[in-house]
């Protein structure tokens, strides 16, 4: 077995790229192993989207108004399903490892935390898109959506930009289980619930109480939905949505490095206080 001990000569960058692929592939392996659970969850999410879609069918005095209301709600449902999944996968990075009992092995490996979180993020985006396409296919069988003028490419561009900021947002939330192994994950669910409330997913934020409306401005999902609805419902151009794009670009530039920095601080705190253990 002497060949097993050959030193591995390679650059740090290449090693980190291999690790990123490793994390993404591991999540694929796990998703495949939990396939039936994934099917159950997909069916549940699709049923939930249909339920909300039928609420849209029940409003509006004309067929056009009804189609618009239904499409408005379904865009919110699909985008929330996609973005909340990215947020959940990232925010559960630590909890998942702890639950499986692998946290110590992972955290003592030479792969950087950035590689771990980027790998998780890449998988979340790819898997989220696949789920969204399946859900969209199922939903389109039931509803006559108002997408005649839709600017799909523009909407996709906004979704990609938002995905980056959501990955960063999820990194920030992932710190919580490091700081508090027992209650940290529950706090991330509160983050998720607040995003659902303030981002205007099923309604315009105008209906929120006045003091609550400014909170929407810190949610990347708010700008994403504004831009996507304008482009899918009204066929607006990407350039016309600059007001929604620049906040997303800033969040996309700020949140991931901020998330990595805070995660690093959280990891150090966990190592000092002895909280980086298998059991929570």
């Amino acid at each position: 077995m002497s060949s097993l001990h050959a030193p591995l000569q390679q650059s740090n960058l290449k090693r980190e790229l291999v690790a990123i692929w490793g994390y993404a592939q591991r999540n694929y392996f796990l998703t495949r192993r939990y396939f039936l659970w994934e099917v159950v969850w997909l069916v549940y999410s699709t049923m939930n989207a249909l339920t909300i879609g039928f609420i849209g069918v029940s409003v509006g005095s004309t067929a056009e108004e009804t189609a618009r209301a239904t499409t408005f709600l379904l865009i919110g449902t699909l985008i929330w399903s996609y973005l909340s999944m990215i947020f959940d996968i990232l925010s559960e990075t630590v909890s998942w490892e702890r639950w499986e009992g692998t946290i110590e092995y992972t955290f003592m490996s030479p792969a950087s935390r950035a590689s771990q979180l980027i790998g998780m993020g890449l998988f979340a985006v790819a898997y989220g898109i696949v789920r969204m396409i399946i859900m969209l296919g199922a939903i389109s069988l039931f509803f006559d959506m108002s997408l005649g003028n839709a600017n799909y490419l523009g909407a996709l561009a906004i979704l990609v930009i938002c995905s980056i900021s959501l990955v960063g947002f999820g990194m920030i939330a992932a710190i919580m289980p490091l700081i508090s192994p027992e209650k940290g994950q529950q706090v991330t669910y509160i983050f998720s619930a607040v995003l659902l409330l303030i981002s205007g997913i099923y309604y315009s934020i105008d209906v929120l109480p006045g003091w609550m409306q400014p909170l929407a401005k810190v949610s990347p999902i708010y700008y994403t939905l504004n831009g996507m609805r304008a482009m899918l419902l009204d066929g607006a151009s990407l350039a016309s949505q600059w007001g929604n794009i620049w906040p997303l670009l800033i969040m996309g530039l700020v949140f991931p490095p901020l998330g990595l920095y805070l995660f690093g601080r959280g990891e150090h705190y966990a190592k000092v206080t002895g909280r980086l253990k298998r059991t929570g």
Binding site: M1, S11, A19, G22, F29, F107, M108
Partner: protein, 292 residues
């Protein structure tokens, strides 16, 4: 960027050098308990050092500190001359660990776990696949079972796969934290034989924490006794026996352990407290016995 960390460690240095390492944890507000108290230890390249100690003596904290998972309050930890606290990413490349729990994704297969483990160390599939096959064959694992979920494998087999995973990354320092605890006698023997093979066939230095006196005596060049976070003895098996010898006859290692810790092997391994929960009575007892 195109530089290898291989150049940044000094192979002529000791594999591991701990100097006066202490670690305490807060249990309640203002109340602390020491897990490690001024531990100093040197592990030479190619050497196998065993650490014996009852549950709660600080063995796992010691392993966590060395494996960069816990930051010590004071003291220095050097691995091949590199400060493990200041430069963890460099030393992580050269260490690997097998703990009492195999630490695998239970639903994933052994192959999937090993491929993932290798990628964390920058090893691509095309390089790791033949290695995996070679290592699994060498540990007597039926390669046809590589696709089975880990949870279908016995604990002994899981531990052997854990050792295989560690070998896959060619560690220069292996940390074995009670790798045979809880295994049935046959699996225990298999895992011990595998450690023996690693010792004989690889350029690895090994720190082995164990409750098993026979295992320590058979596999280790030197044996340390850790009690309440203090390394109260570190010597060869013979040296320890001579140190604790009372009459004409040399005591067994078990006798030495009981004299040093004030506990029988059964007592030492039956406690269920977490390893960080050090207490003081046994060390006081040990000091009394050493003085005797």
């Amino acid at each position: 960027m195109n530089h290898s960390v291989e150049r940044t460690i000094d192979h002529a240095q000791n594999a591991l050098e701990l100097r006066d390492v202490s670690k305490r944890f807060q249990k309640k507000r203002g109340e602390y308990t020491f897990a490690l108290k001024g531990v100093s230890l040197t592990l030479k390249r190619g050497e196998v050092v065993g650490i014996l100690g009852p549950n709660g003596s600080g063995k796992s904290t010691l392993v966590r500190v060395i494996s960069t998972l816990t930051v010590p309050d004071s003291g220095t930890v050097e691995i091949f001359g590199v400060d493990a606290v200041a430069q963890p990413k460099i030393v992580q490349r050269y260490i690997n660990r097998v703990s009492v729990e195999a630490s695998f994704f239970k639903k994933m297969s052994s192959l999937e776990n090993l491929l993932f483990g290798a990628k964390l160390y920058g090893i691509m599939d095309r390089e790791s696949r033949p290695r995996i096959e070679e290592i699994l064959c060498s540990i007597g694992f039926d390669v046809k079972r590589v696709g089975e979920p880990m949870e279908h494998l016995s604990r002994g087999t899981q531990q052997k796969i854990a050792l295989a995973r560690a070998l896959l990354t060619s560690p220069m320092l292996m940390l074995l934290d009670e790798p045979t605890t809880g295994l049935d006698p046959r699996s225990k023997r298999d895992v011990q034989e595998l450690i023996w093979k690693i010792r004989a066939g690889h350029d690895s230095s090994i720190l082995l924490c164990t409750h098993d006196m026979g295992e320590a005596e058979e596999l280790c060049d030197r044996i340390g006794i850790l009690v309440d976070g203090e390394l109260i003895a570190l010597d060869t098996s013979l040296g320890l026996k001579q140190r604790y010898q009372v009459g004409d006859e040399l005591p067994t290692l078990e006798d030495v352990f009981m004299l040093a810790t004030g506990q029988s092997i059964e007592d030492a391994s039956s406690e269920t407290d977490d390893d960080d929960d050090s207490t003081t009575p046994t060390s006081e007892r040990a000091n009394e016995l050493i003085e005797v």
